[in-house]
């Protein structure tokens, strides 16, 4: 440590971590010298009001700052559309023609609904349900109700006219085709019953 070096405690005083009262008596004089140094710090504002005008004047001759083209392409942007009615009519006509051409089925009347009663005789079953194209083959969606004590299970559904495939699910595991309806191979080794309404 040279003659000019502040004591580490005085350094802490300069840093604002200690006050002069925290210093031992032998360092008080050095502490006061340090505080005189800080008292001479000039914290007054420096005003440069003319800078705004000079900067803006300098910018007049400079090209506008722009992001690279590829960055601009990735930025979100606001798009404003000006709609001209006389251009809108042909556009709407084209749109309507496309709708008729692409989705003709949606524009036709919906098929009529038909109520159907499904029946299965299964005296030993604890639960029976119906799975088919009309309920996305969900084995829990359509449970049948036991009617009396003779093992007859039944449910009524209202379905759109058309062809449906289905099967009964006995006790949640065993898939059984309807013995009273025609059946087709489902492609996976099972038979699906077919109902045409």
């Amino acid at each position: 440590m040279s003659d000019h070096d502040f004591h580490p405690l005085v350094m802490q005083l300069l840093d604002g971590d200690l006050t002069i009262a925290d210093l031992p008596a032998e360092l008080r004089a050095q502490g006061e010298e340090a505080l005189r140094l800080l008292a001479a710090v000039d914290r007054r504002p420096v005003e440069v009001p003319g800078v705004v005008q000079r900067v803006m004047r300098a910018l007049e001759s400079r090209p506008a700052p722009r992001r690279p083209r590829w960055k601009r392409a990735l930025e979100p942007r606001e798009i404003r559309l000006r709609i001209r009615p006389w251009l809108l009519a042909p556009a709407l006509a084209i749109a309507a023609a496309l709708i008729v051409w692409i989705w003709p089925a949606r524009l036709t009347a919906p098929p009529p609904l038909v109520t159907v009663r499904f029946v299965l005789v299964a005296p030993d079953a604890k639960a029976v349900s119906l799975a088919g194209t009309f309920n996305q083959w969900d084995a829990r969606a359509t449970p049948l109700v036991r009617a009396g004590a003779n093992g007859v299970w039944t449910v009524s559904l209202t379905l759109p006219a058309g062809q449906h495939q289905y099967a009964f699910v006995v006790d949640g595991q065993r898939w059984v085709p309807d013995p009273g309806a025609p059946a087709v191979d489902d492609g996976f080794g099972r038979r699906n019953s077919v109902l045409t309404l």
Binding site: S2, L37, D42, V51, V52, V55, P65
Partner: protein, 181 residues
């Protein structure tokens, strides 16, 4: 976008980049004096500080598209001005020294006693004898009132290295002030 005075730095930067270059004046207005003081203490001259701030704002405009975080325009601009001040000191060292502490002396003739003025002038001259790194940490802490943590964040360095720099600055200032007392 917010209206009028509520515009953030980020709003203004984005507006300028979108073509509204006149909005840049708001940024200059907002920060010119604050950074002029930093530059004046770094360069020891109010005139040199004014030139440096002006130059830094023009340079920042040219490079605005490279400002990755428009909401942190302040920190980004500070680094441009800092480089400008460091370059100015190197240039003036190589040619002729700046008229040190001219602004201090001129201002003190009107608003302070002769003794205060002399102490301020002596400290400003002593500051110019520090290395730019030492002077900068002293100015940011004792003139701008930033904490070591804030300075470390702004300069992307550690508090420990800043304290080491600062303690060397204290010793050097003491030496300079004693020699010229």
């Amino acid at each position: 976008m917010r209206l009028g005075a509520e515009l953030t730095d980020g709003d203004i930067v984005r507006a300028v980049l979108a073509g509204e270059r006149e909005r840049y004046a708001q940024l200059v207005e907002r920060y010119r004096d604050r950074y002029a003081r930093y530059a004046a203490r770094m360069l020891g001259s109010a005139d040199a500080a004014e030139d440096a701030v002006q130059d830094a704002f023009v340079r920042a405009f040219d490079q605005l598209a490279q400002c990755k975080e428009p909401d942190n325009f302040l920190g980004w601009f500070f680094l441009i001005l800092r480089n400008r001040c460091f370059a100015e000191r190197r240039r003036s060292r190589a040619t002729a020294p700046l008229e040190a502490a001219d602004s201090v002396a001129a201002a003190d003739r009107t608003d302070g006693g002769a003794e205060t003025a002399e102490r301020r002038r002596a400290l400003q001259l002593a500051l110019l004898e520090l290395t730019p790194d030492q002077r900068e940490v002293f100015v940011l802490k004792h003139v701008e009132g930033l904490s070591y943590g804030q300075i470390a964040e702004r300069l992307s360095t550690s508090v420990a290295s800043l304290k080491m720099r600062m303690h060397r600055a204290y010793d050097r200032l003491r030496q300079e002030l004693r020699e010229h007392a």
